[in-house]
Subunit: 392 residues, 2 copies
């Protein structure tokens, strides 16, 4: 039931209908209203179980000029190819990226690698809302060091066009010449049809699902970027549009729909990205979330090296860890550093999942050899320093 | 009290005596017998607390020609520099490495990078005794692919010399022309003086210590490659000569000697190494150990990629995981693969420490982005497949 079904492939015994769109759901009668986009034919299709895997779509505000040639967003593989083709065909010189999240940063990197001048505009006082401000500042430094003109606390107002093509990006602070504008303003779950059918929505408009990935309506399931998860630490509903989580959703929903039994585990919002040689990783709760929850916590940020200091290719790495003050339990981690930094966040995710305290984490027996790490892995150094601040 | 004290540096308030050797310990009188190597003067030095941090030394069998020019081992920084100087001065063409452990493999890599022909001789049927045979076979393949002539199940008999310099390495199967021979036959704890003083030894002749790093003799402590650890999984005494473990020993012993309280945590023998682009990681118990313990276990090895398959630089990776059959708890892991493989073992070490089952490990929320990983990190794929074999 995906809205971009072209990428689907028919498996044996599965009736795949590409270029068919579901326009309404009738859960009482267990049927969906379908439009055959090629012929225009409309019909009702019955179902025993209905999986809503409609994903999310990028937020594109309907500002002046938003439909001009050169104003682009990335969502599907096809939209990524479209950006590349646009660059190849029109040879733009000035790229403006709007939004400093994962998509914005990765597209900024792509434009840098293609040799464009890159300007990045972000409404918030920091890039990467999933990082604490201090760690986001390191990413901002890296962006600027790589040559990105960074504009924080600046809101998109619209686009100037010339003959239907983008000529400038307009914000509340200035007008910037642009041949291409890439919008990375986040995504919104595709749940309008579900909502119209009375299927309850939850966090950020995603389908509210239980741990079996069942919605509150009998026979209707949700999976992927259109559906909620629950947070491993807080136990509360949580929305995160990430491929790993979407894939887990699908596995659990599919198992249950097929008559098996599976429960979705908690998620930590673990994510990794990079801007050229600077890597970013994050997992678990960040300070803002902990403040909102009213949890008494401590945090520590350390600077270390990705490899033994004397080893070729060793670079700086910053690791921030957060722990519950009373128990010492690790609640979150953020990493910014040179090549070899980001995936170290996986150890933090595993430590959180295992319920490790900062002290227990500081005793982890991690691998050391000069090409891979300083004697003490940076995540261990952070855990050790942090453990002195906890109440245990 | 190190036997190679030249590398020590005097800190404030520490009386550092370089070129002094302790030749005997009298724990009843709390004093050590010291020889001033420069003057020959001998004297007894009293102590309140004695830390034995005498390390280990490479095993060098006294075979014919073992003292010839060109027969070398690596131990200290100085000995590494000596190997490099020997190569620079004598321009050897044929290197023979004896021993297929960490040192042997890393020196084989160093000789390859220096442009030498490299032959590696190993007595056992596999390289890297800390890996299971199937994973060691992948390392052997990698060594051969990098151009190393590999001889397994072949024992060193001695060295042929010419004018006092090495000319060939002799084994029970052949004689091989060699300009330089590097012995990587493991290490032996430096505990002779301790043993003579009646301080009890444990596994592999290392100082037997409790979790405070105290020996069984009042006022005598041990730390580093001369001292035992205990294994996190089995709880039994365990000997491993690794920098991370030695450093933890020192921290614990020092804290206790200075009047604080610290306990040494368990170790997993986590280690990482590489041979050119092929990386190796291992942690926890291996099959041989599990068989010796009589633990009913299951294992699974999967092949995946280090990054998304379509991403530049993506390479093969093999991950083996072992778990207790009845509980599903992860007991060990081994990784062999291209760049980006080895440090993934840290997630396995964290999972073991957190007491995770294979199923729980398969649910870990690890970071994904195409430059860093396939959608499912290879360690998760291994955990998922393994979880189907466990009794939970």
């Amino acid at each position: 039931m995906a809205r971009s079904p072209e990428t689907f492939r028919a498996a044996q015994d599965i009736d795949v209908r590409i270029r068919h769109e579901v326009t309404a759901i009738d859960p009482q009668a267990r049927r969906v209203h379908v439009v055959d986009l090629a012929s225009g034919r409309e019909f009702w299709e019955p179902y025993d179980e209905l999986l809503l895997a409609t994903g999310a779509r990028p937020i594109i505000p309907k500002l002046d000029g938003h439909d001009a040639q050169g104003v682009l967003a990335v969502h599907t593989l096809e939209s990524g190819i479209r950006v590349r083709k646009f660059v190849e065909m029109t040879k733009p010189r000035h790229a403006v990226v709007v939004g400093g999240g994962y998509i914005g940063l990765e597209m900024a990197e792509a434009f840098l690698l293609l040799g464009l001048n890159v300007r990045l505009i972000e409404k918030a006082p920091q890039v990467m809302a999933t990082l604490d401000p201090d760690m986001a500042a390191l990413v901002a430094d890296a962006l600027q060091a790589k040559g990105v003109a960074l504009h924080l606390e600046e809101s998109l107002d619209g686009f100037e066009t010339k003959d239907g093509a983008l000529s400038a990006v307009v914000t509340d602070r200035g007008t910037y010449a642009a041949d291409i504008a890439l919008l990375g303003l986040g995504v919104r779950p595709n749940t309008e049809i579900a909502a119209e059918a009375g299927i309850p929505l939850g966090v950020r408009g995603a389908l509210h699902v239980d741990r079996r990935m069942a919605t509150a309506v009998d026979g209707v399931w949700g999976a992927g970027d259109c559906a909620e998860s629950y947070h491993l630490i807080t136990g509360k509903p949580f929305y995160v549009a990430l491929g790993t989580v979407a894939n887990r959703h699908g596995r659990v929903a599919g198992t249950n729909i097929a008559g098996g039994q599976a429960l979705m585990g908690g998620v930590l919002g673990t994510a990794v990205t990079k801007i050229c040689s600077v890597e970013v990783g994050r997992t678990g709760l960040q300070e803002r979330e902990l403040q909102d929850l009213g949890w008494d916590h401590v945090s520590e940020t350390i600077a270390s090296r990705t490899k033994a200091g004397y080893f070729p290719g060793s670079g700086p790495i910053h690791v921030k860890l957060l722990a519950e003050k009373s128990t010492g339990k690790i609640l979150g981690g953020q990493i910014v550093g040179e090549t070899g930094s980001a995936k170290r966040i996986d150890v933090v995710a595993a430590a959180i999942t295992g319920g490790l305290t900062a002290e227990a984490m500081s005793e982890l027996d991690l691998g050391y050899a000069p090409p891979f790490s300083p004697l003490w892995d940076p995540v261990i150094i952070a855990a050790r320093v942090l453990s002195k601040k906890t109440g245990v």
